[in-house]
Amino acid sequence: MKTFFKLFAAQAKELLRDRMSLFWYIAFPVIFILIFGAIFSGGTNLNFEVGIAAESEGPVSQGIVQAFEAVESFTMHTGSREEELEALRAGNRSAVLVIPAAVEQLVSVPGGMPGQGASSSIAEPVKVEVLYDKGQQQTTSIVLSIVDQLLEGIEQQLTGKTRLLVADQKPVAAEQLRDIDFLLPGILAMAIMQLGLFGSFNIVSLREKKVLKSLGATPLPRVMLLGSEILVRVLLSLFQTLLIIIIGRLVFDVQVTGPWYQVIATVLLGSVTFISFGYLLTLFSKSEESGIGLVQLVQFPMMFFAGIFFPTTFMPDFLQPLVKIIPLTYLGDLLRHVMVSMPTEYPIVTSLLVLGGVTVVSVIGSVLLWRWE
């Protein structure tokens, strides 16, 4: 135990004194956040093109249209049902709402605008059609949740009833989701990936420099060496998480909503996934240098196609299969969900299975192919 502690301290010091590595592991992602945050925080929020087709020109319909136009992240287009559907098919709308004429009946007081009158009895709910492109899951889920909230709010005003049950407002409601909220968890995911992939090459460097050989003549079980190294890096991932969250909070006012244990558990899972994947990669490279090249080759596509910087739905269809086989995609998705309550694009179970699967395969592969010399 004492040996493990000493070894852990040794590896931690070794890493902390390596300014270059620290820069890449810790400072680089932070700089990324600052730069991208600065670029995107200038009001260019997530924006969705939403079409609205009102069948009636009555006051209620107009009120609804106005309410939607007030939503900052929506750019509204009004037109006939057919026109808007056409635009949706052409990919120019994220969603189209069809407001039926029946909504006018909801208010009995003539000229009564939302907020004043209240109809006493509504026989059955009026259906507002929301049409969307099934392919764009993430966009859709954001839009739908905003639409839902709005309709709820409008209805409440129409009926004038105070709700008996009020959902506790999520601190980051969908309408407030900004680019930085999207970006921050993604960059954390990227940092975790880099820490895992590049960090694993430390062992290659030790092997190349014959440090492993020198240690091999001592009674130290070499597995302990590996264990302490992994622990150092997992802890560094947690530190990285904390740092990114603090910076997000202080500089960009990003509120982390998820329960802490979920954030930590997700970070740990990601960290372990990419560390083990990194070890597997080390086994396919002869030297540290060629290994770093290999990691670059693996990590660049991951970085760009995993939807770290923008939703993957913005990517052309032919890239979608690539997006789906990248483990980072799932880590980013999970982190966005647990950190800023962004709706997940993939079922949580799928993401957990993918990350867990990559870990298991990597660990088994590494154990089978492992070499100390």
């Binding site: 040996t3 010091k13 030790l206 420099k209 440090v211 020198s214 091999g216 003549a217 001592t218 009674p219």
Partner: protein, 304 residues
């Protein structure tokens, strides 16, 4: 009572027979030296003894265990300095010695060991900032701190300045005094003569001579070595005729005559010089050394 027992040890790399049937025994309190030129198989031998390399055949017994069967038992009882030691580059001397001390049951006091190898002033220096010789001394400190019953040193004094070398000899003799066995390799004959209770001269993977250094020399040399630069015109035939010359070895320009009657031979050599009108340059008379022995046995110098 032996602590190292090796029998017919063999190892080949492809077609190269690096170690070709070596046998020896080492007892506690003994300094055993493996002496030989580059590529003789010294490092390969040491690495097989300490469990870093597998052998092709033969038996090895270190402190009662076979390093291939129970490497952890062997490793916890020995201290090892490898020929090209490497350490975590960003840890300091003190941190590294402490780290290594934590690997062993009953290590020596860290400060004492650092003092022994003369690195006290460099305690706080990161290992990557040490000079070659300092790094080497650090590696020796890491071997010694184990307090192992056998200390393996692969070329402990290579690259050390003369002062550091003599200091290290004292350290090694101190280890012997405390009852440890020391197994070392070296190219330096003077080192082997000064330190070793027993030397084995290896060449091309085989032991070509072994024994106590002085006995070994006495056995092979009744004569002294007379060394000089060969004047181009003097051929070996004429040198052979000089009185007392037992053997002549030429190595480039350097001629070594082994003679039982030094003064007679010198006188005749000068006569020869006068006769041909050319001076004899850089003449030196030496007591025979292990180096001479190696030269005599193999016809080559131990250091190229």
């Amino acid at each position: 009572m032996t602590c190292i027992k090796v029998k017919d040890l063999k190892k080949s790399y492809g077609s190269l027979q690096a170690v070709d049937g070596i046998s020896f025994e080492v007892r506690p309190g003994e300094i055993y030296g493996l002496l030989g030129p580059n590529g003789a198989g010294k490092t390969t031998t040491i690495e097989m003894l300490v469990g870093l390399r597998t052998r092709d055949s033969g038996t090895v017994d270190i402190l009662g265990y076979d390093p291939q069967v129970a490497p952890e038992k062997v490793k916890s009882g020995i201290g090892v300095q490898l020929q090209s030691p490497a350490m975590f580059p960003r840890l300091t001397v003190l941190e590294l010695v402490e780290l290594f001390a934590s690997f062993y049951q009953d290590p020596l006091p860290v400060d004492e060991v650092i003092e022994m190898v003369g690195l006290t002033e460099k305690k706080k220096a990161q290992s990557r900032k040490l000079s070659g010789g300092q790094m080497h001394r650090l590696a020796i400190a890491l071997a010694i701190v184990s307090n192992g019953r056998i200390i393996f040193l692969d070329e402990p004094t290579t690259g050390l300045d003369p002062q550091a070398r003599r200091n290290l000899w004292e350290v090694i003799l101190g280890l012997k005094k405390s009852g440890k066995a020391v197994f070392l390799t070296t190219h330096y004959m003077d080192e082997a003569e000064k330190l070793c209770d027993w030397v084995a001269i290896v060449d091309q993977g085989r032991i070509i001579a072994e024994g106590h250094p002085e006995t070994l020399i006495d056995e092979h040399f009744k004569e002294r070595a007379l060394e000089f630069e060969q004047p181009a015109y003097v051929n070996e035939k004429r040198l052979e005729k000089l009185t007392g010359v037992k053997k002549i070895v030429t190595d480039g320009d350097l001629v070594t005559l082994y003679t039982e009657t030094v003064s007679q031979t010198i006188a005749e050599l000068f006569d020869l010089a006068k006769e041909t009108g050319q001076p004899v340059n850089d003449i030196a008379v030496r007591r025979s050394t292990l180096e001479d022995l190696f030269l005599k046995l193999t016809g080559r110098r131990i250091r190229e």
